[in-house]
């Protein structure tokens, strides 16, 4: 389809390539900025400006989170509006079942409160941290990050782990006074030292460009089955030990070789306006560092025990405390 653009053609003839020098200057400035950024530390001026810029654009990200929330709601509304008679009947039956379950749940809730009070005594498994809400997701296609509305004013520091309702979410990479940026474990640059809960064999859980989690550096002789739980080992100190990462969902053996691809499904996936907790300290860190140097097997047992009770329970406690 032909189109006419007389004005732009006229401008082209007048000054077709004016600005080449300007382009070169700007490119040089860009490269200089990138070099300074790469060489300076986390406290460098460009990093500081970036933190402040992240905080300034947080309201925009919050608006984006609102859009995502509204889109989900609109999807549900359309689904509800187009429901068929048979589905409606099924939903009524399901509703009746849910009412029964609600009564049972209330009983269980009261029981849970009593048990939680007992568990509070076990203070060695407590995770202390700051709970915040996800106010934005990364607008860059190459990274998987979220922005949380707690920052250095709440005591958040770069490198701290972040957990969701069910397990590990990611790690704080950048902090401003009111917000922090969290790199998700599914980010290709993310790698978490972990072990299989069933066999205690150590491995690394890595993110990938396709958004999946891959379990790597696991010995070929180790048996892995779908459903195996993967938890953080605490090795390297980046993440506290004993936090649940996810479960093995697929094991693909390569024909003719001992190579295999193991895919892990994260237990905790956060979306906009949900809460996460930035972990300041956990008892498992202490136990891991103490026992890690003595006996890896023993430390694994200790950490696994800690994670099974501590990973979720104390996070909820932190949330309530906040």
């Amino acid at each position: 389809m032909p189109i006419i653009n007389k004005h732009s053609t006229a401008k082209k003839k007048a000054a077709p390539l004016s600005g080449t020098a300007l382009v070169i200057v700007l490119l040089v400035v860009s490269v200089a900025l990138a070099t300074v950024y790469a060489r300076e530390g986390q406290d460098g001026p460009l990093h500081r400006v970036q933190s402040i810029a992240g905080m300034v654009t947080a309201p925009l990200q919050l608006a984006g989170a609102g859009v995502a929330y509204a889109a989900d709601g609109a999807g549900d509304a359309v689904e509800n509006a187009t429901v068929s008679d048979s589905s409606y009947t099924a939903l009524q039956q399901e509703n009746a079942q849910l009412r029964d379950q609600l009564v049972q749940m209330e009983e269980l809730r009261q029981e849970n409160e009593r048990l939680t009070a007992l568990l509070d005594i076990q203070s060695q498994y407590q995770i202390s941290g700051a709970t915040g809400r996800v106010i934005g997701t990364g607008s860059d296609a190459y990274s998987r990050e979220i922005t949380v509305n707690v920052g250095s004013n709440s005591g958040v520091e770069p490198g701290q782990a972040v957990v969701g309702p069910s397990g590990l979410v990611g790690q704080v990479t950048e902090v401003s006074p009111l917000t922090c940026r969290v790199r998700l474990i599914t980010d290709p640059q993310s790698g978490v030292s972990a072990y299989l809960q069933s066999s205690r064999d150590e491995c690394v859980v890595k993110g990938a460009v396709d958004g999946l989690l891959y379990l790597e550096y696991l010995d070929d002789s180790v048996q892995v089955e779908v459903g195996d739980v993967v938890v953080t080992s605490g090795m390297g100190g980046s993440y506290p030990a004993g936090i649940t990462i996810g479960t093995v969902t697929n094991v693909v053996n390569q024909a003719g070789t001992s190579d295999r691809t193991i895919i892990v499904s994260p237990l905790s996936t956060v979306s906009a306006l949900e809460e996460v907790t930035v972990v300041f300290s956990s008892s498992s860190e202490g136990s891991d560092s103490q026992s890690g140097s003595q006996d890896a097997g023993d430390s694994g047992d200790t950490n696994a025990d800690a994670s099974s009770t501590d990973g979720e329970g104390s996070v909820d406690e932190s949330g309530e405390g906040e």
């Binding site: 189109i3 007389k6 300007l22 970036q50 607008s139």
Partner: protein, 174 residues
């Protein structure tokens, strides 16, 4: 002057859309780069120094807000403005096909360079970065260009000085 104001407002709108809308319309992790689409379109329609400066500033702001290496997107958007401007001068932008090809080339080059930069710094497989990110993102950018181009063309035509022909820079379908 009015054109420059229009371009600045367009740049701000592109940045806001990138923050608010882009993460919510991602398809399999690939999301459009509104800033890139805007810069490529504006550079095709108007060859001026203002476009280059706006591209640089827009890239710098994106770097600062996204947490990426400061200067990387600034350089790439400046490069995109140059590529789109030169290609438009050489091959013309009189047809939708030509404009689409130019914007696709600019998007592909920029996304590919960004992917290579990412491969070098993040250590991800090149095939994954190029096939799962650079290519779909470039195609997404082209789709956004198709939306932006008639809008921007219309707005620029309205903001053109009165001594020009009223339909001077309006993209018209015959």
């Amino acid at each position: 002057m009015r054109e420059t104001v229009v371009l600045i407002v367009g740049g701000i709108a592109a940045f806001v859309l990138q923050c608010v809308l882009a993460p919510n319309i991602a398809v399999l992790g690939a999301m459009p780069n509104f800033a890139l689409a805007f810069v490529a379109t504006a550079a095709m329609l108007r060859q001026s120094d203002a476009i280059v400066v706006i591209a640089f500033v827009l890239g710098l702001v994106s770097d600062l807000s996204n947490g990426g290496t400061v200067g990387s997107m600034a350089a790439l958007l400046t490069l995109a403005a140059l590529i789109a401007s030169r290609a438009s001068s050489l091959f013309g932008n009189e047809t939708v096909t030509a404009s689409l090809l130019i914007s696709m080339a600019a998007s592909l080059i920029v996304e590919a360079i960004y992917a290579f930069f990412y491969i070098a710094t993040a250590g991800v497989p090149a095939v994954d970065a190029l096939l799962l990110r650079a290519l779909p993102c470039a195609l997404y950018d082209c789709a956004i260009v198709l939306i932006i181009m008639p809008l921007l063309s219309f707005v620029l035509a309205r903001s053109a000085p009165s001594h020009n022909a009223p339909t001077s820079s309006t993209v018209r379908l015959r």
